[in-house]
């Protein structure tokens, strides 16, 4: 099956030799809810803006539902609804309703149908009362909702949400989460960038971590955690162990001051066997503590190579 989005060896060097993307290759499957994580400047927005037609890649390509985002940009753009990070809204003379109706029109939707869709979205996002207001009269949260409604007005199969919950209150954040989950369940592919790692962990089935313009890891939150920072077991015995028992090499064992540390889980039979063996050798197990890393720990592990960033 074709990918919803396929970044293929994407490079982008801005004027002034700023290398924003260094060969990004990443596939987002159809129907997937993927999180794109990275520090500021990792290349998240640049990669999205290539799809949006706002950035010309230096080399490489992006396919959107099989359409080349550069050579077949009209077909590619029709597949995507983008909610940008910045509050970019046509505030010059259009009111909220007109912004949505015009946006639908750019995507080839006739005025009557566009008005119907705008009505529904304004009600859904709690903006109906503000439909005749200018953007400057909206609060930050309202603008964020309008941006999401704009991305949805042409009912695209793929949604790209660039930090959609940045700066919004808790209630709206939960509303956005519920809406995104429902849209994904209805079959839409969602690519989400966020700095809230708990948000990514909660919503995304798969996560891609970008660092310095390249992909450094991809997988489900659970996979990333177990692969990059596996569970750590701290086993305390009486008497203290003086040597590492045999047969535990695959768990990267080491002796700490007062415990034996293993990388592994209690659910692993070999770990259980090791514990039984200790008991059989007259060691009393005082405690077994399982330490599980969080996605944030994994993220920091993968992106903290540049120690000079925040000294």
């Amino acid at each position: 099956m074709e990918c919803a989005i396929s970044f293929q060896n994407l490079h982008k060097t801005y004027a002034g030799h700023v290398e924003a993307l260094k060969g990004l290759s990443l596939d987002v499957q159809r129907g997937e809810f993927m999180g794109l994580l990275g520090l500021n400047g990792a290349g998240k927005t640049t990669s999205i803006n290539v799809i949006a037609g706002l950035v010309r890649p230096t080399s490489g390509s992006v396919l959107v539902n099989g359409f080349d985002a550069i050579k077949q940009y009209r077909l590619a753009h029709a597949q995507v609804g983008i909610a940008p990070q910045e509050e970019v809204l046509d505030s010059s003379f259009l009111n909220v309703m007109q912004i949505l109706v015009y946006q639908a029109g750019y995507f080839g939707i006739a005025p009557r149908e566009a008005t119907k869709r705008a009505d529904a979205l304004l009600q859904e996002f709690g903006l109906w009362e503000k439909r005749k207001s200018n953007v400057v009269e909206l609060s930050g949260g309202m603008k964020r909702r309008l941006i999401l409604a704009k991305a949805l007005i042409h009912d695209p199969p793929i949604l790209i949400l660039d930090e959609p919950t940045a700066g919004v209150d808790v209630a709206l954040r939960h509303h956005i989460w519920e809406r995104m989950t429902a849209l994904n369940k209805a079959g839409k592919t969602i690519l989400l960038t966020t700095h809230y790692l708990e948000e990514a962990e909660q919503l995304c089935k798969r996560i891609a971590i970008l660092h310095n313009g390249g992909l450094v890891a991809t997988g489900s939150p659970h996979e990333l955690i177990t692969k990059i920072l596996p569970d750590q077991l701290e086993i305390r015995t009486d008497p203290l162990l003086k040597a590492i028992p045999e047969g535990l090499d695959k768990f990267s064992p080491h002796l700490d001051e007062d415990c034996l540390c293993l990388q592994g889980s209690l659910s692993d039979p070999q770990v259980m066997n090791a514990l039984v063996s200790l008991v059989q050798h007259s060691y009393k197990i005082i405690s077994v503590e399982q330490k599980r890393a969080r996605l944030e720990d994994v993220f920091l592990q993968l992106t903290s190579t540049d120690k000079t960033r925040y000294p």
Binding site: R56, I82, G105
Partner: protein
């Protein structure tokens, strides 16, 4: 076509919803010219190329209004959309870059022609001003508005701030127009050889002379030569605008 029409409609709505600030000022200033020159001064200035001064000046005033309005609309609209960032709405849509450029140019043309029509109607009502060759005149104004709307869209892409549009106006449009014979004929410049030379090499002199021939029947410059030059300029500016939009000049990083 819905997408193209929608963007065109947006660009038209932009100046129509704010007609008091877009249409009215230029129409009003030209109507003031008509009142001052036509009613107060025309009898003292005598005939120019066999025409009353007001009648001689009228085609130039109409043309200047048409081209400045055609120029300003896309220039300000594109610049504003770039500065506010909402140009992304159309760049991220399925609209072709050529459709974006043409919608902007057509809306600029429409604004120029609306102002031109208002001034012509006023001239007809106040001075009884009538056009000799309506079809040629219309073709002329269409081509002129097209060329200068395209130039305006280029200016909107090129400049990074509002001052940039002013720079083009002050250093390019104003000299072109004011030294192009809107208010005088070449035969009036016998005692000013430098001004006469500048006026002669100014392409706007040919454009305005040709329009004057079509509107009031003067013979200093032929309709055809003016029309040809206007058409060539329109072709050059529209082509350049299409190329710049296609390349994403100052639109894409």
């Amino acid at each position: 076509m819905i997408g193209f029409y929608t963007y065109f409609k947006r660009e038209v709505a932009r100046f129509m919803q704010d007609a008091l600030n877009t249409i009215a000022p230029s129409a009003t200033s030209v109507i003031l010219y008509i009142m001052i020159f036509g009613v107060a001064l025309a009898t003292r200035l005598g005939l120019v190329e066999g025409q009353s001064y007001t009648r001689f000046m009228m085609p130039g005033l109409i043309l200047v209004s048409v081209i400045t309005n055609s120029f300003y609309n896309p220039a300000f609209s594109i610049l504003q959309s770039r500065l506010y960032g909402n140009i992304a709405d159309v760049l991220s849509s399925p609209l072709a870059t050529s459709q974006i450029a043409l919608a902007v140019i057509l809306a600029g043309m429409l604004r120029g022609l609306v102002v031109g029509t208002l001034i012509s109607l006023t001239a007809w009502l106040v001075l009884g001003f009538q056009v000799q060759e309506p079809l040629f005149t219309l073709l002329y104004l269409l081509l002129a508005s097209m060329g200068f709307a395209a130039l305006g869209s280029i200016a909107g892409l090129w400049t990074h701030g509002w001052e940039g549009v002013n720079v083009i106006t002050v250093f390019f449009l104003d000299p072109l127009v004011l030294l192009g014979g809107v208010f005088y004929s070449l035969e009036m410049l016998q005692s000013a050889p430098l001004l006469k030379t500048i006026t002669e090499i100014n392409p706007f002199t040919t454009i305005i002379g040709g329009l004057r021939a079509a509107m009031i029947g003067t013979t200093e410059i032929s309709v055809e030569s003016g029309l040809l030059l206007t058409g060539i300029l329109a072709l050059i500016f529209v082509s350049l605008a299409l190329v710049l939009f296609h390349r994403g000049y100052h639109l894409k990083a």
